[in-house]
Point group: C2
């Protein structure tokens, strides 16, 4: 542990600032005098938990802050340009020294970075072989071609080249939001990202089989556009403005990355991999969660045909949610009073690149939180459900994900994932009405294959402290062993099973299985049980691919919905640290859970895998209306009664609603 | 079918008006000259579908409205006061005649009505035996006792008396919102509602077994109160106002009961049993649903001990959601511009009783509906998710339910159920820390038993017409029989199973089973499949009671999550027409589904049973934060593309959000 650092140093959970990036890059460059370096990632190193706890406990308890703190560490993935060797380096900003540099094995691929992707696009579009294929399409004047390079899902063990499968699309009009995904080409070159060589020109199957043919002249069809000024229909003219006014400002306070709202208090972290991270979440000065973030996600596609079997994005590990997250705009993405948080990434030259407004925070009204009327006198107590939303929106090529942590006034936290954006499409020769069973036609010449979105939020709990136990409860008929007669066959109880060993388990809707995390040292005086939070896990279909497929081998976290591990520093990413072209996730969750350590009354981590199986609708194109999945984390005996009783009542003086006097409840005379 | 009625007559889907109630009552009284009648229900008779279709199709297509319409029929449950006989009568208001009166068998019990419940409370509290029990408690001065009479869940076949189990509570302070549910008494009298006789005085078990004892002097404990001015904690002072302003008014138009909003068009019906009913739901002049309503719900409790096995509310059939729904208040229950619809019930004397503001309708902002950014230039298209909420809130003694149909701009409808209010409680002698396994202690001397809320919304579809077919799709690995090689083990398809015979089926999360309703006569030109809507059923634990328990026999609709029937007029209520003290639901859904009729390409009805298994948390007391369940009805190939593309873009000019400049994204200097 480092000595006590000055009080104006960054908080250990603060994201990296530009000066820190510059300093870290300078320290690394100085370690390689005369050697040109190419930077892929420069980011804050997750602090060691045991080194942070004294500080955050002093903060929570309002005690003096002159406690030891962790050193400010930065890690970097970088290449030597001269020989291509890939390194992971760790730098201490406090003493301005390199802590360690590790040369990574040749088969390890780092994540894609924006400079590399832009370069890949340019290489592809300028390559003579690609130009030749484009010419074969005989496009009308004014139409151009673009490419989305895809990280190469591997199908063999020993690929050490760094490859991109470039999917090609026709850009139908010169408009910055023209929907090229509506016009996929039927060829796809594969490039080596290091040598810039064309490895292969794939022709894509376009019928109900594996056959391919030479690139053909394009059969003109109309693109399905989404941009408002490209639509051939008028806007609706009957949508009236809906304004959220907060005349006294929002109910939150922000100090740097520290947020206080309705007894909640937490720090907003940001890094290029996970994007948004919440740290040290407390309620009314009681510990609830140490760290909340999406650890990984993967999106395998169900098209059996080459090269589509390679389509398996790992949006956290392959690129990074911090890299792909949108720089948000006032009035577009949220209503009301919006607080934006910025972030920084690093470009290939080691410069800090500002990411403005990447995390947004605002309040919203979630309807009624609780209500009761005394039916004898009609007198009602109503409390509205004010919520605090902390959100990022990521664009991963075609798709968009909206990730939000939503806090309420009753101790609840909701992790909400919304999928929107544009379906990943493929060409189909459907002028004769052809359909294929693994895909949905969404326009002329374009089809959107079935796929699954598999998410793995990592929940690092701190239920009234850092020693916790995970268990589940099931609703079962009153067991005979209890010796209580049940003459009418109505009795049922909640049966508890403790997860005592690190590992995985299943959801079970048929028993209303609910997972909880408790602190055995703190009793709830009302329920006479240890204080706990429950996690309403999402029951969903597991990954549909074969157990021995690369899709499954690369994402074993998808095999089970619930995993419990004993906390260890730097065990953060479910599919392991490096997912690009990975052949296995064995450096990830399944290995950590496989240690089978005791996880009773100790520092535990809860991992929840849930899946959105998405077999597209025509309505999901050209931009899909959101599909939403939520995981709720709620107190369950953490409080002795509803903690929101002290929320002021909802009334007209406070809410200023308007009575609509149009229409009536009588009969509809005249107009039918 | 009746002759063409004047154009200013009520619409067949309009709720009953006071003049119609008066007329119907007068017609019935005239049929029984000199005989005193006691009215239980007077309500609109559901029109015969085939008689309404010509009118609603003319409306939809903008054709002349001079088509035949159904007669305006009213039904009534009423008693002869002289001999107690119970009748169901049907009256034609057009020709002012009684159509039919049926004498109901002695074992049939009608629903509870407000006059009866008030009388029952009075009878109970004035009864000498009850007064004697109250005296045994030796309550301190100022404390009183009240009762909630419970409809008597039967435990034998041949009960023809009409009984109420009166649960007794101490009212701790003279305050209109004092929480008597916090202080349940340990005795419970049973009364005959007709003779007003005390049938039995039950003593309630209060330990971990079936034993009971004489009513004891009350051990003073503090009630857990919810009313704001009874709390011993201050209100939060940091919640700032959050106002919804609609300077140009709402986006809906209302004409009588007809609502038009964002291409949706429907009629808001109201009746005392189902409360809110939506009729003739169309989108952009295309039929989508004929009728949407909650058909029934039941709430069995998991306490094995007498008399708690009788606790099984049927909140639709036993009382009626229209009877129990709250008269809503501006600013308390909704934000923004609110349209209220009124209803009427009838008292025991046949008078129309106004129910003001029982249905509310307002718009809300549901976050982002769709978004895509072109990552090459960061240009984004964002459309917000404006929603229309049509809602009732029902108070069923202790509990509250918030039922809402929520429409969106992309053709989606969400049926949202929120449970709130106060847990049903029982006394427990827990001064020594006793807990019982089927219940959660929620305060001193009070425990809240496990229970299940089982809901059955009835969805009468009209997907582009009235001849529909229900089917389900499952995601399965590419079947070998398709003859398509799958060398990488990634292929998966959507497999279709048609429900061709009326009956029931299960949910299956492990296969992402999704139910759809299609119209085989109308093809989607893009997907090349029939137009359809999908229903995202809720997978939940079935009722936990024994198969031969009265709880299960009275609610066979709870046995399966999905039921499909061939439409027949007046088959509306899943547990049958009369649920009070019922011994079986055989006059309901299981019988209609059991006919096994062909349900392919015909007029079908989709019934979805879903359950909230509620094992209380201490946090659910004294008023529970909402628990929410939603069923989504979404177009699935009903449209050729996202139907919300024409919604105007979201931007600051329209939304007028505010930038919060507090805090910063830098490090948190100084304050930690």
């Amino acid at each position: 542990m480092a000595p006590i650092t000055p009080i104006n140093a960054p908080h250990p959970f603060d994201p990296l600032q530009p000066g820190e990036i510059r300093l870290a890059v300078a320290i690394l460059r100085a370690a390689y005098p005369g050697v040109p370096l190419r930077f892929k990632t420069v980011d804050v190193q997750e602090p060691i938990k045991s080194e942070v706890i004294p500080l955050i406990e002093a903060e929570r308890l309002g005690q003096p802050l002159d406690v030891p703190r962790p050193a400010r560490l930065v890690f970097s993935y970088f290449h030597r340009v001269d020989n291509g060797v890939f390194f992971k380096g760790l730098v201490n900003l406090n003493d301005r020294k390199v802590v360690q540099v590790t040369e990574l094995p040749a088969e390890i691929q780092g994540p894609a970075d924006p400079d590399e992707l832009a370069e890949m696009e340019e290489v592809c579009l300028k390559h003579p072989a690609v130009i030749k294929e484009i010419e074969k399409m005989k496009l009308p004047p004014g139409m151009t071609v673009c490419t989305d390079p895809w990280v190469y899902g591997t199908d063999e063990e020993d690929e050490s080249r760094r490859l991109y499968q470039c999917y090609m699309f026709i850009v139908p009009v010169n408009h910055p939001q023209s929907n090229h995904y509506s016009l996929p080409c039927d060829f796809s070159p594969v490039f080596d990202a290091k040598t810039k060589e064309l490895i292969r020109m794939d022709n894509l199957p376009t019928r109900n089989d594996h056959t391919t043919k030479e690139t053909q002249p394009w059969k003109p069809v109309k693109a399905v556009e989404y941009a408002h000024d490209l639509l051939d229909q008028p806007h609706r003219d009957d949508l009236k403005p809906y304004l959220v006014q907060q005349p006294q400002g929002p109910s939150f306070n922000v100090d740097g990355q520290l947020v206080e709202w309705q007894k909640w208090r937490f720090r907003v972290g940001f890094n290029v991999r996970e994007g948004m991270v919440l740290y040290n979440v407390t309620y009314d000065r009681r510990n609830v969660f140490y760290r909340l973030a999406l650890s990984e996600m993967t999106v395998p596609y169900g098209d059996p045909r080459k090269p589509y079997h390679r389509k398996q994005a790992f949006d956290v590990g392959d690129v990074g949610l911090g890299i792909t997250c949108n720089q948000l705009t006032l009035g577009c993405d949220c209503l009301g009073h919006i607080k934006y948080f910025d972030g920084y990434r690093t470009d290939s030259k080691g410069n800090a690149v500002p990411l403005k407004n990447v995390i947004c925070m605002h309040e919203q009204d979630g309807g009624i939180l609780h209500k009761h009327s005394n039916y004898r006198n009609q007198l009602a107590t109503v409390v509205r459900n004010r919520q605090l939303v902390v959100q990022i929106i990521c664009t991963v090529s075609n798709y968009e994900y909206i990730f939000a942590w939503i806090f309420d006034q009753a101790g609840g936290v909701e992790y909400e994932v919304r999928a929107t954006g544009i379906l990943s499409t493929m060409p189909i020769d459907n002028s004769d009405g052809l359909t294929v069973p693994w895909s949905t036609n969404v326009g002329p010449g374009v089809s959107a294959p079935n796929h699954q979105h598999v998410f793995s939020p990592r929940i690092d709990p701190a239920i009234d402290g850092f020693q916790n136990t995970v268990f589940y409860e099931e609703s079962v008929k009153l067991p005979k062993e209890l010796g209580i007669a049940d003459p009418y066959g109505v009795g049922y109880i909640s049966e508890t099973s403790v997860i005592d060993q690190a590992g995985h388990t299943e959801t079970d809707v048929s028993k209303s299985r609910v997972f909880k995390i408790r602190n055995d040292s703190i009793m709830n005086n009302v329920s006479q049980k240890p204080v706990a939070y429950k996690i309403s896990t999402v029951a969903s279909q597991p990954m549909l691919m074969s157990p021995d497929s690369f899709n499954r081998r690369r994402a074993r976290f998808a095999e089970h919905p619930v995993w419990v591990t004993k906390y260890r520093d730097s065990e953060l990413y479910a599919a392991g640290e490096f997912t690009s072209q990975s052949t296995s996730s064995s450096s990830g969750l399944e290995t950590w859970a496989g240690r089978g350590e005791n996880v009773v009354d100790t520092d535990v981590v809860f991992w929840h895998t849930f899946t959105l199986t998405h077999n597209p609708r025509p309505e999901d194109f050209p931009v899909m209306p959101i599909e939403k999945i939520s995981v709720h984390l709620k107190p369950s005996g953490f409080f002795e009664k509803n903690p929101a009783l002290d929320v002021p009542p909802s009334n007209q003086e406070f809410n200023k609603s308007c009575l609509h006097s149009g229409g009536g409840s009588g009969s509809s005379v005249g107009k039918l």
